[in-house]
């Protein structure tokens, strides 16, 4: 008994030690980014690196703002990511519901065709999409960034899997009570999907937030840049503006952190939902 307890304690200690080590490994780069954002470039380039925060954050931000108008860049990113996330949530959940609960011709082939688009690398899509947008005269617009990805295959897949867990009897009884299909979707199906929608919202937001190559080609003027495009402008040949890059990177993660904190409870259960069949 005592032996067992000791074994458990050792295991617990090792587990905690492993977890703490991993947390440190993951947090050190973030901490270094936060510290570096407060240092002037010459202190950033010192070795060994300084690990105590400095006082140059506002100066670095001012330089960044002058160079790039970073406030506008953040605003562009937030605007695009929020609109995209909302639109994509609607489309993905509707498509997921249809694939999960309706029978129609070629349902399976269509679903697998949508899934198959996941294997297409974005580099392959950039030129055809750019040409399409140029023909529509949509280059340098936000809609060109939002619409092509609105029906997200991962989102459709995730929602289909989750929607499958809704009992058919529930939907059937709603129909018997006279509910229309749209009412069934909005009033019955969607409210049970809150945690899945929260998880999907984070995935979609992050996808759009990080998108680089496609917006780089589509967004032509500096006043339309998103954060990744703005960050890429800070790396030159003779000089890399580390101080400004670190400020920009620090500010860039704030909306993501806020979104995650707001939705974190639902996130885990949403990701796990639908993964087990009862």
């Amino acid at each position: 008994m005592r032996e067992q307890r000791r074994k458990d304690a050792v295991w617990q200690f090792l587990t905690y030690a492993f977890v703490v080590t991993m947390v440190v490994v993951m947090m050190v780069p973030l901490y270094w980014m936060l510290v570096a954002a407060t240092l002037p470039q010459e202190q950033f380039l010192q070795f060994p690196p300084r690990l105590v925060p400095g006082t140059a954050f506002l100066d670095n931000f001012a330089a960044l703002q002058e160079r790039l108008d970073f406030v506008r860049t953040i605003r562009n990113s937030v605007l695009i990511a929020v609109i995209y996330t909302l639109l994509s949530l609607v489309l993905c959940s509707m498509a997921g519901f249809a694939f999960a609960k309706y029978e129609f011709k070629f349902k399976e082939p269509i679903f697998y065709a949508i899934l198959a688009t996941l294997v297409l690398p974005i580099q392959l899509l950039v030129i055809p999409l750019f040409l399409l947008m140029a023909q529509l005269d949509w280059t340098n617009t936000f809609r060109a960034i939002i619409l092509p990805w609105a029906a997200n295959p991962i989102g459709i897949f995730l929602m289909r899997q989750n929607m499958k867990s809704i009992p058919d009897a529930l939907l059937e009884s709603a129909r018997m009570d006279g509910a229309t299909e749209i009412q069934i979707f909005y009033r019955i199906a969607l409210p049970t999907m809150r945690s899945s929608l929260a998880a999907l919202a984070i995935i979609l937001f992050l996808f759009q937030w990080d998108l680089f190559l496609y917006p780089l080609v589509i967004l032509e003027s500096a006043d339309m840049y998103t954060i990744p495009i703005g960050l890429a402008q800070l790396t030159g040949f003779q000089r890399i503006y580390y101080d400004q890059i670190m400020v920009a990177a620090t500010l860039a993660i704030v909306p993501m952190v806020v979104l995650f904190l707001l939705l974190q409870k639902q996130f885990v259960s949403g990701i796990l939902a639908g993964s087990l069949k009862e």
């Binding site: 010459e42 030129i127 750019f130 140029a134 790396t235 030159g236 000089r239």
Partner: protein
């Protein structure tokens, strides 16, 4: 100092013309004018067309970093002398390359004029999306005004596709205080063997140079080029396993084995710090490095000197090149934009006044050889403790051989990097390293060995 800019240099450069088409380009070559653009009729419906001379009234230009800002100097001057707008857009380096490549390949959205690094020349030209400029260059008679080593990377099948801008003549930057303290005589270093021998005078905690494992291919390339080595024959065969390449590989191994080299990844904080506190006493690089040292290590100003990179054997060549850019015109733009673009190219790059202005303000070392006669190259510079370093760079620029960049240049870099790393780690000999690299490149690029 910075404010001296154009007005001062205009005086230095003398009356070399305005670059205005009406006044005959750079005026120094006796060409009649305008720019060979008469053939373009500008009739493609561009709403920015200038009715008079077949040139668009507005063009856009892409560049990165200080180069873009240098173009803003010339665009401002150009606009003041011409009834035209030249809109310069500044990007990050790799961001611009990604975007430009997509725009060129898709045939839409590219700017009239953009920067083109020599190393990227053939791969972009091969896409068929860059406008040939041979006729314009010939008509303007400016080819001989530029250093000869620039043209090879810009020429495909006999046609020239860009006008040279800046170049990267190599030299060894060294810390005067360290050399003085340890009795190292830079004038006495003629060969790499001398360099290694002098490096032995430094104490254990100080290094003569940096030889990072991740950038052996860069070192190999400038030394291979120094020997007039060409990675591919004109007929296309892989040629990196020849005697010159072997000589360079052995040299790198000798430097490494002599324990005079630090191994610090470039452009990191540790790297800057090692040059800042003189842990590393010398830096083989190119003329553009001065701008970085001035900006990032301002406290070291006045303690630097430069000498030509050592020869691989006594009496051998001591000039090479590292980097350099050009300006190109996209083939997809209308004829009137091409005409305006060429006129702007000629104004910015083929006139001494503008090249010197960009050099003075942003350190872009001109590829326009005629500028080297300007007194500015004889100036004693405080940064180099009074050494007239520009004259040395100008001499090197004129001596540096050309180099055959191709779309497969990245394959060469990767293979050389891998095999030379194995060599310095003692896993194979220099002969085996260059042979293995050549075979890898041949296999990956479907080429034959020379």
């Amino acid at each position: 100092m910075k404010g001296a800019g154009i007005a001062g240099l205009a005086g230095l450069a003398g009356c070399i013309g305005t670059g205005d088409p009406e006044s005959g380009g750079d005026g120094s070559d006796g060409s009649d004018g305008s720019d060979g653009s008469d053939s373009s009729d500008g009739s493609d419906g561009s709403d920015e067309s200038d009715s008079g001379n077949g040139m668009a009234s507005e063009i856009n230009v892409w560049g990165w970093d200080v180069a873009a800002r240098a173009l803003m100097i010339t665009s401002e001057e150009y606009e003041s002398e011409n009834d035209a707008t030249v809109a310069v857009e500044e990007f990050g380096r790799s961001a611009m390359k990604d975007r430009l490549q997509t725009n060129l390949l898709s045939g839409s959205g590219a700017p009239a004029v953009s920067m083109l690094e020599s190393v990227d020349g053939p791969s972009l030209i091969d896409t068929g999306s860059v406008a040939p400029l041979s006729d314009e260059i010939e008509e303007a008679g400016v080819k001989d005004d530029f250093i000869s080593g620039k043209w090879e990377a810009l020429t495909v099948d006999g046609d020239i596709y860009a006008l040279p801008w800046d170049t990267g003549p190599t030299a060894v930057y060294y810390r005067r205080s360290v050399y003085d303290e340890h009795d190292i005589d830079p004038d006495g270093i003629e060969t790499w063997a001398d360099f290694i021998e002098e490096g032995q005078k430094l104490p254990d905690e100080q290094y003569m140079l940096n030889l990072p494992e991740g950038d052996l291919s860069g070192v190999w390339r400038y030394q291979f080029r120094q020997l007039s080595g060409e990675p591919f024959l004109e007929s296309g065969e892989v040629n990196i396993h020849n005697e010159k390449s072997l000589r360079v590989a052995r040299n790198i191994k000798e430097i490494y084995d002599a324990d005079i080299a630090a191994n610090i990844e470039g452009w990191t904080s540790a790297w800057f710090s090692a040059y800042g506190d003189a842990t590393i006493a010398s830096l083989p690089s190119a003329a553009w490095m001065e701008g970085t040292l001035r900006a990032e290590l301002p406290d070291t100003a006045g303690d630097w000197g430069v000498f030509k990179i050592p020869a691989l054997e006594s009496g051998g060549p001591r000039a090479s090149n590292w980097g350099g850019s050009n300006l190109m015109i996209a083939d997809q733009v209308s004829d009137d934009k091409k005409a305006r673009g060429w006129d702007y190219l000629q104004f910015s790059l083929a006139t001494e006044e503008m090249q010197l202005a960009m050099y003075d303000e942003y350190g872009l070392f001109p590829a326009l050889e005629t500028t080297y006669e300007d007194p500015v190259f004889e100036e004693e510079l405080d940064f180099y403790d009074g050494q007239p370093a520009r004259a040395l760079f100008a001499e090197v620029a004129q001596e540096a051989p050309g180099y055959r960049f191709t779309e497969d240049t990245p394959e060469v870099s990767q293979a050389i990097e891998t095999e030379l790393q194995r060599m310095i780690n003692g896993e194979q000999s220099a002969e085996e390293a260059v042979q293995a690299a050549a075979e890898t490149v041949a296999e990956n690029t479907d080429r034959d060995l020379a």
